[in-house]
C-alpha cells in the first residue's frame, strides 16, 4: 500500500495544474459562492403610471425603488415594464383603487414585494405566511389594509407566475443547467482524448483548418444537445405545467446561441487541458459558478456586488433571462436584445480563443517558424548555399 501511496503522490506532484486547482479553486469558489448565496432582496424596482404616480411614489418607501414614473401612461405601459424586466412591481394609478402588478417570474423579489406591501398594509401577506390570503386563480387579491393618505387600498395582481410556483421559474433555467452539465463536460474531453490517443498529431498534418476542427468537434454535440433541450422543455411543460407563452423562434435562437457558447467553452477547456482529469476538473469549476451566480437560484440583485460582475461573463445568466423572459413573460426579441448581444459576444470570444488554441496545436510548424523567422531567407533554386544532399560523414573524413 505504501508503494501505491508514494506513487500517487509523485504523480500528483507532477500534475501541478491539478494540484493547484485542488488547493486554490475550492478557496476561490467558497469565497465567491459565499458572497453569492443570498436570497435577501434589498431593493425592489418599481414603475408607476397614471395621474397619481407621484403620490404613489411617495407612499412606497425602501425597499421599493422607483425606477420610472410616467403619469401619462397607463396599465399597458406598466405591464410592459414588468414584461421587459425593467421593474419587478408596477403601480397603476388613476382608477378608484390603484392596481399593483407584480412580476411573479422574479420569485424572490415578488415575495419580498408582497411582504413589503403587507408591511405597509397595502397588499396580501406573502404566500405561505400565516396571514396570507392566497392570490386567486387570476393572481389577484384585494388589499386587506386600508388605503393610505391620498390613495385607496390597491388591488394586487401577480403576473406571469400567479401562484409563485418555484418550478415555473426554475425549469426554464434548469434546462440550461442540464445542457451546461452535459455539453461542457462532454466537449471538454474532445481534444484531450485526441491528444491522449495520439491522434492529435495526425490531425495536425491533415488538411484541416482550425475552425474545421473546432466546428467538427461541436456540431455533433450541438445536434444532440438541441434534441436534449427540446426533451427537457417538453418534460417541464407536460409534467410540471410550466407555461410557454412567448415565441418559440426567439427561444430557439437564444438556445442555439447558448448551446454554441456552452459547447465552445467545453472545447476551449479541452484545448487548454493536458489530460482528461484536468479537463473535467476545469469543466466542473465553470459549472458551479454558472449554477450559483447566474440568477438561477439566487436573484442577481441579491448577490454581493463584488462577485455579481462574474455573472455577466456566464452564458447561463443570459439564457436564464431569455428562457424566463420568453416562456413566462412572452418577452419579444426587442426587449431581449441585451442577453442576445452578450451571448453572441461570449460566443465570439470563445470561438476566437478556441480557434487560436487549435491553431497552436494544428499548425505548430507555422507557429514555430514565426518565432524563428530569420533576417534573411532563401528558397530552393534561389542560389542559396548548397550542401551535399546526402552527406556521408565517414570517420577520418570528419563529420
Amino acid at each position: 500500500m505504501w508503494a501505491m501511496i508514494v506513487k500517487e503522490f509523485r504523480q500528483l506532484r507532477r500534475d501541478r495544474r491539478t494540484l493547484a486547482m485542488m488547493i486554490v479553486m475550492p478557496i476561490l469558489l467558497l469565497v465567491v459562492l459565499g458572497y453569492a448565496a443570498s436570497f435577501d432582496v434589498s431593493s425592489i424596482p418599481v414603475a408607476i403610471s397614471g395621474p397619481q404616480a407621484s403620490v404613489a411614489g411617495r407612499m412606497l418607501p425602501h425597499p421599493f425603488d422607483i425606477v420610472s414614473s410616467e403619469p401619462g401612461n397607463g396599465r399597458a405601459w406598466a405591464q410592459d415594464q414588468l414584461r421587459d424586466g425593467r421593474a419587478v412591481m408596477a403601480v397603476v394609478t388613476g382608477a378608484a383603487r390603484p392596481v399593483v402588478l407584480i412580476d411573479g417570474s422574479q420569485l424572490f423579489a415578488a415575495r419580498a414585494a408582497l411582504a413589503a406591501l403587507a408591511g405597509l398594509g397595502r397588499g396580501p401577506a406573502p404566500p405561505g405566511a400565516p396571514a396570507a390570503a392566497a392570490p386567486g386563480a387570476g393572481g389577484t387579491a384585494g388589499a386587506p389594509g386600508g388605503g393610505g393618505p391620498g390613495l385607496a387600498a390597491p388591488r394586487v395582481t401577480i403576473l406571469y407566475n400567479p401562484k409563485l410556483t418555484t418550478s415555473d421559474i426554475m425549469i426554464p433555467g434548469l434546462a440550461g443547467v442540464v445542457l451546461v452539465f452535459i455539453g461542457t463536460i462532454i466537449t471538454s474531453l474532445g481534444v484531450v482524448r485526441e491528444r491522449q490517443s495520439g491522434t492529435l498529431e495526425q490531425l495536425a498534418v491533415m488538411p484541416l483548418r482550425p475552425r474545421d476542427v473546432f466546428l467538427g468537434k461541436i456540431v455533433p454535440y450541438f445536434a444532440v444537445a438541441a434534441v436534449d433541450l427540446a426533451i427537457v422543455l417538453a418534460v417541464g411543460i407536460v409534467i410540471f405545467g410550466v407555461p410557454f407563452r412567448g415565441s418559440a423562434a426567439v427561444f430557439a435562437l437564444g438556445a442555439l446561441l447558448f448551446l454554441f457558447v456552452t459547447l465552445g467553452i467545453g472545447v476551449l477547456i479541452s484545448s487548454i487541458s493536458q489530460n482528461q482529469g484536468q479537463a473535467i476538473h476545469l469543466a466542473v469549476m465553470t459549472l458551479l459558478p454558472q449554477v450559483l451566480l447566474s440568477g438561477l437560484i439566487f436573484p442577481l440583485a441579491s448577490i454581493a456586488a463584488g462577485v455579481r460582475w462574474l455573472a455577466y461573463f456566464l452564458p447561463l445568466t443570459y439564457f436564464n433571462e431569455i428562457s424566463r423572459g420568453v416562456m413566462l413573460r412572452a418577452e419579444p426579441i426587442g426587449a431581449l436584445w441585451q442577453p442576445f448581444a452578450f451571448l453572441a459576444l461570449l460566443g465570439a470570444v470563445v470561438v476566437t480563443l478556441a480557434t487560436m488554441r487549435f491553431r497552436a496545436y494544428l499548425a505548430p510548424a507555422q507557429a514555430g517558424r514565426r518565432r524563428r523567422r530569420p533576417a534573411s531567407q532563401g528558397r530552393v533554386g534561389d542560389g542559396g548555399p548548397q550542401q551535399p544532399v546526402l552527406a556521408v560523414p565517414g570517420p577520418g573524413e570528419g563529420a
Binding site: V205, R369, G378, Q387, P388, L390, G396, E397
Partner: protein, 311 residues
C-alpha cells in the same frame, strides 16, 4: 517562402529557416522531397543537428537509429508538424502528405472502415475511390475480415497496418511512416512492407523510421542517426563502400588500444583499424564490412573522434 502552409495545393512547398541553412545539393532533383541541414531544438536540447535526407518519388528511404536518435523529430519536420530551427524542408502540401505518427494515429473507438472513411473524407476522396482502395489494401494486409471491428480491439500489428493504409489511402506524394514495424510480428511486418512497396510503386516518396537494420537494407537509401546527428547516409552499398580503414574478424578481443575499436558479433569479434593504423594481420582475418559493420564503424569513429577532440 517560409513555412509549409497547412492548406496548400499539390505543388511542393519549401521552408527554410536559420541563417546558415543549406539547400538541396547536386544529387537532389526538383521532384525530390526532403530536409537539408535541418536543426531542431527541443527547449535547450539540440534534437537534430544539421541533418539532411532526400526522399525521391518511387523510392523508399529509411531513417534508422536507436531511441532518442532524432528519427521522429526529423519525420515530424518533413510532415510539417514541427518547424526546424534552421535548415530547409521541402515537402508537398498537406493534402499530398501521408503521415503515420508514432502509434497508429487511428481512433480506437472507430471501426477499421470508419477510420478509413474519416481519412478519405478529410482528404477529399470520393467514397467510391476510397472504398475501392480500402478494399484492395485491407484485403492484401489481411484486415478484410476485421473491417467492422473497433481499431482499439485490433492487435498491435493490425493497428499499425491500419495506420499505414490510412496514411496511404489518398495516394500521397510523400508517405512518412514513423516506426510502422516496431513491435510487429514477422507476418505483419511482411504485410507492412508490401504496403510500403505498393506506395512507392505508385510513385510516392516513402520515408520510414525504423530501429531494424534489415529494413534499412531493403530501402533504396538509408540515413543513420545517432544523438541527433547524421552518422551515415546513402544507399546501403554507398554506406558500406564509404567505410574508412579496414575491418578484421578475430576470435578474441584484442588487448590494449585496439580493444576500444572492437565489438562482439556472434561468437567472434570485429576490430576496426582506422586509416593509417592498418595492422599486419593474416589475410583471412580481413573482411568486407556489411551494413551493420559500416554503421558500427561510423559510430565508433565518431566516438573516437569526439574522445580525441576532448583530449
Amino acid at each position: 517562402m517560409t513555412g509549409r502552409a497547412a492548406e496548400s495545393g499539390d505543388r511542393g512547398m519549401t521552408s527554410q529557416t536559420g541563417g546558415s541553412a543549406g539547400g538541396p545539393g547536386a544529387g537532389a532533383d526538383r521532384g525530390d522531397w526532403g530536409a537539408w541541414d535541418v536543426s531542431v531544438w527541443h527547449e535547450k536540447t539540440l534534437a537534430l543537428d544539421g541533418v539532411s535526407l532526400c526522399a525521391r518519388p518511387g523510392q523508399v528511404a529509411a531513417v534508422v537509429g536507436g531511441d532518442g536518435a532524432g528519427k521522429t523529430t526529423l519525420l515530424r519536420c518533413l510532415a510539417g508538424a514541427l518547424a526546424p530551427g534552421s535548415g530547409q524542408v521541402r515537402s508537398p502540401g498537406a493534402r499530398r502528405i501521408g503521415f503515420l505518427p508514432t502509434g497508429s494515429g487511428t481512433y480506437p473507438d472507430l471501426t477499421v472502415s470508419e477510420n478509413l472513411a474519416f481519412r478519405a473524407a478529410a482528404y477529399g476522396l470520393s467514397p467510391g475511390a476510397a472504398r475501392e482502395r480500402a478494399d484492395s489494401y485491407l484485403g492484401r494486409a489481411g484486415l478484410a475480415a476485421v473491417r467492422d471491428r473497433l481499431a482499439g480491439q485490433l492487435s498491435g500489428g493490425m493497428r499499425q497496418k491500419l495506420g499505414v493504409i490510412a496514411a496511404m489511402l489518398h495516394r500521397p506524394d510523400l508517405l512518412i511512416l514513423d516506426e510502422p514495424t516496431t513491435g510487429v510480428d514477422p507476418v505483419s511486418r511482411s504485410d507492412l512492407w508490401w504496403l510500403v512497396a505498393r506506395a512507392a510503386a505508385g510513385g510516392a516518396a516513402v520515408v520510414f523510421a525504423t530501429s531494424y537494420l534489415d529494413e534499412a537494407e531493403r530501402a533504396a537509401t538509408a540515413l543513420f542517426l545517432d544523438g541527433g546527428r547524421g552518422l551515415a547516409a546513402g544507399t546501403p552499398e554507398e554506406i558500406m563502400a564509404a567505410t574508412p580503414g579496414s575491418l578484421r574478424r578475430v576470435s578474441a578481443r584484442p588487448e590494449g588500444e585496439a580493444g576500444k575499436r572492437a565489438w562482439r558479433r556472434g561468437g567472434q569479434w570485429r576490430v576496426w583499424d582506422p586509416p593509417g593504423q592498418a595492422q599486419a594481420v593474416p589475410a583471412d582475418e580481413v573482411i568486407s564490412p556489411d551494413l551493420q559493420d559500416a554503421v558500427t564503424i561510423a559510430a565508433l569513429a565518431r566516438e573516437l573522434e569526439l574522445a580525441g577532440g576532448a583530449s
